[in-house]
Amino acid sequence: MPAQGDSDFRSATISVLVDNESGVLARVIGLFSGRGYNIDSLTVAPVEDGGQRSRINVVTSGTQMVIEQIKAQLDRLVPVHRIADLTQQGPHVAREMALMKVIAAGDRRSEALRLADAFRARVVDATTESFIFEMTGSTDKLDAFVALMRPLGLAEVSRTGVAAMARGTRVI
């Protein structure tokens, strides 16, 4: 696969609508690992009444040719209904949620709380020695907050990965 330095190397957020049958996630993940594609983030959950179909959101990266190949490979999996390359289609919303545990006392504790407020992170658990912050937003915003918390006693992070959809009336 072409190297990261290639000029047309890009990130792509791809949504895939699949039949919610056993093994479908393994098929998708196996496709990525078997063919050496990158997975930067992956989410999956049933999205329809009765749980018949699931939506997988995968953030990947590669050259344009590789990303086209990823979409074609996904599309030929039997349980795949539809695919959307949200990055290519245009404006879209991509959000993820993170839980972050900060263990700190004194100044660092109050600084963490102050920053959380500025970033609109919510406190969902607190003890005298710790907080759990919950934050929803773009991957970049979460990355930035995590980086700020690190010197302030960040002890644990749990992130959901990206959920995404196109802006406006367009649907997958």
């Binding site: 056993s22 190949q69 074609a72 490979q73």
Partner: protein
């Protein structure tokens, strides 16, 4: 197809195994290649009680899959395999990957431990759907009796639709025993898998325009044309006739165009002809049909056909722009797209650029004049047989016999010589393991072909090393009186390995000598077959004639020149115009760069 039963009967509860057989019958299945075991005994019991479906008992599950591949490729139908759980399923894996790589429609039924034991490391349990997920086009684990019939019908649809491939249905034993209701094949479209078969009209018109304007065109044909059925080969022939354009074929596409057609340049790729590879390198418009630009064909990607605009017809969108960027992709069934191209060309009243085409043919004829496949066979009594000559005589004498002839091969030099020297005039007469390159493919594949065509002449062109990989199938041939002929080009080496060691590894012949070979004549006899041997050129024709005349299976052990190499050769990673020609030709290519050594 469907033998509809009375309504009351259709609704009755039946054991899963009966439902399974009924579904197979409704799918038009006549033959199953299989091997029994504990988990599939209910199916064997159901087979015992009926006569509509014939079971061929192989001697190894890998062979069952190759036999089904041979059956499928020679008939255009889906081949069916039945194996037990655990080792039965794992033994089948090589065959499944082989069918996946070469796009052969196969449905493989695997036994599984009862559902309540799955995950318990039960006796002969294997995670068959996990193991075969990357080895199949799709697979199923049937967990509820009510899904059984539907899954079987869907599996056949998936195996044969779009780009064909192998499908596994994993069947827990309790599902095979438990009662279920039958459901016939549904006419409703599949909920998610609906491959595009009709070409886009605009794209066809653009393709006609590109082809019409070509000055140095070439048509590059792949196995997809064979898969698309006779109509595809016919449309291709018509297109070549209308345009007068030169055409070449991959290993898998041989027979789509008649080898005797003067516009056919022979096979391309690593061991393709000089003229085919140079035409690909120098063309200005390339029409690729049902071919996938794999590394054995393209050589060095960066230098592949640098000046051409490329049209690519393929039913699998993921084959397009995978290795080589193309200018005009057409996602469609090869037959429909070719017919549309022919119709478009005719409606347009298109004519080729005659002056340019004549000049292009002069250049190609110049390349042809190099006679890249030339070799010298001494006719002196006692002279050693050249492998190329053995294939040419086999070809001539089978033609003379006038019988429909099907050729399978193992993997190695003999396979390439068969591709180069056995001229195929029709599609579906040539079965070889192209994508996976599986030694041991040829004998079981021939068995499957012979089951489908009992009257035909079916010959496995083999190497002495490969044939030992599934030699046990001689016993199957004997049991079912399948008169397959095994034609061994015995060079006492894993010749293809030896060739690479000679050319790329300083002549260090590490572990490539075929030591301690059996006496193939006695081996044949011990399997109730006829054994023949030719040791020198004067014995060759008589041996081939005796082989062709024999009623039953034959092994013909043909001693050939141990040192012969297969040329032309484009070393891995080299561009098409850096081909090595044989010793009969003046030196052409420089030595292979070290980087080439890393490539396979």
């Amino acid at each position: 197809m469907s033998t509809s039963l009375p309504a009351a009967d259709a609704d009755a509860l039946q054991p899963g195994a009966e439902i399974l057989l009924r579904a197979l019958k409704d799918q038009g299945v006549e033959v199953v290649f299989g091997y029994p075991g504990g988990a599939v005994l209910p199916i064997y019991d159901a087979i015992f009680k009926q006569n509509a479906i014939r079971h061929i008992l192989v001697r190894h599950e890998q062979a069952a899959v190759h036999a089904a591949e041979g059956y499928a490729r020679s008939t255009g139908r889906v081949g069916v395999v039945l194996v037990t759980s655990g080792p039965g399923a794992t033994n089948a894996v090589t065959g499944l990957v082989d069918a996946l790589m070469d796009s052969i429609p196969v449905v493989c039924l695997t036994g599984q431990v009862p559902t309540h034991l799955i995950g318990n490391d039960a006796f002969q349990e294997a995670d068959t759907t996990g193991i075969t997920r990357p080895a199949t086009k799709h697979n199923y684990l049937v967990k509820r009796s009510e899904d059984l019939a539907r899954v079987v019908h869907e599996a056949f649809y998936v195996a044969r639709s779009g780009r064909p491939g192998p499908v596994v249905i994993d069947l827990p034993k309790d599902i095979l025993i438990g009662p279920a209701r039958y459901s016939p094949p549904s006419a409703a479209p599949h909920r998610s898998y609906r491959p595009q078969t009709e070409p886009d009209g605009g794209a066809i018109a653009r393709a006609v325009a590109l082809l019409k304007g070509a000055k140095r065109p070439v048509i590059y044909v792949g196995g997809g044309v064979i898969n698309a059925g006779d109509a595809a080969s016919e449309a291709l022939r018509r297109l070549v006739q209308l345009t007068g354009y030169p055409a070449t074929s991959t290993l898998m596409g041989l027979g789509a165009l008649p080898a005797s057609d003067p516009r056919f340049l022979g096979m391309l790729g690593m061991h393709g002809t000089y003229e085919a590879n140079l035409a690909m390198h120098g063309c200005d418009v390339m029409l690729a049909v049902g071919a996938r630009f794999d590394d054995r064909v393209t050589g060095k990607l960066a230098a592949f056909s640098p000046q051409s605009r490329k049209i690519h017809i393929d039913i699998d969108p993921s084959s397009i722009n995978k290795n080589v960027p193309v200018d005009l992709p057409i996602v469609a069934d090869a037959g429909r797209a070719l017919s549309a191209l022919v119709a478009g060309w005719e409606a347009d009243g298109a004519t080729p650029d005659r002056t340019a085409l004549a000049a292009w043919w002069r250049q190609i004829d110049g390349w042809r004049a190099r006679e890249c496949l030339r070799y010298t066979q001494s006719r002196a009594a006692g002279a050693i047989i050249k492998p190329q000559y053995a294939i040419q005589r086999l070809h001539a004498l089978t033609r003379e016999s006038g019988r429909p002839t099907y050729i399978t091969t193992e993997v190695g030099q003999h396979q390439m010589w068969a591709a180069q020297f056995f001229g195929f005039e029709q599609p579906n007469r040539w079965m070889t393991s192209g994508g996976l390159g599986t030694m041991g493919y040829g004998l079981p594949a021939a068995m499957g072909v012979q089951v489908a065509h009992p009257e035909a002449l079916v010959i496995d062109i083999a190497g002495e090393a490969s044939i030992l990989m599934n030699i046990q199938e001689m016993s199957t041939l004997a049991q079912y009186r399948l008169p397959v002929k095994v034609f061994i080009l015995n060079n006492r080496y894993m010749g293809m390995v030896r060739q690479w060691q000679e050319l790329l590894h300083g002549g260090r012949y590490s572990e490539s000598y075929s030591a301690a070979l059996p006496d193939f004549v006695k081996l044949a006899e011990s399997f109730h077959a006829t054994g023949l041997r030719a040791e020198s050129v004067d014995q060759l024709d008589a041996t081939i004639r005796a082989m062709l005349a024999a009623d039953g299976p034959v092994i013909a052990d043909i001693a050939v020149d141990e040192k012969e190499n297969c040329f032309p050769m484009i070393p891995s990673g080299a561009p098409h115009n850096e081909m090595i020609l044989g010793p009969e030709h003046e030196a052409t290519a420089a030595g292979v760069a070290d980087a080439g050594l890393a490539l396979v």
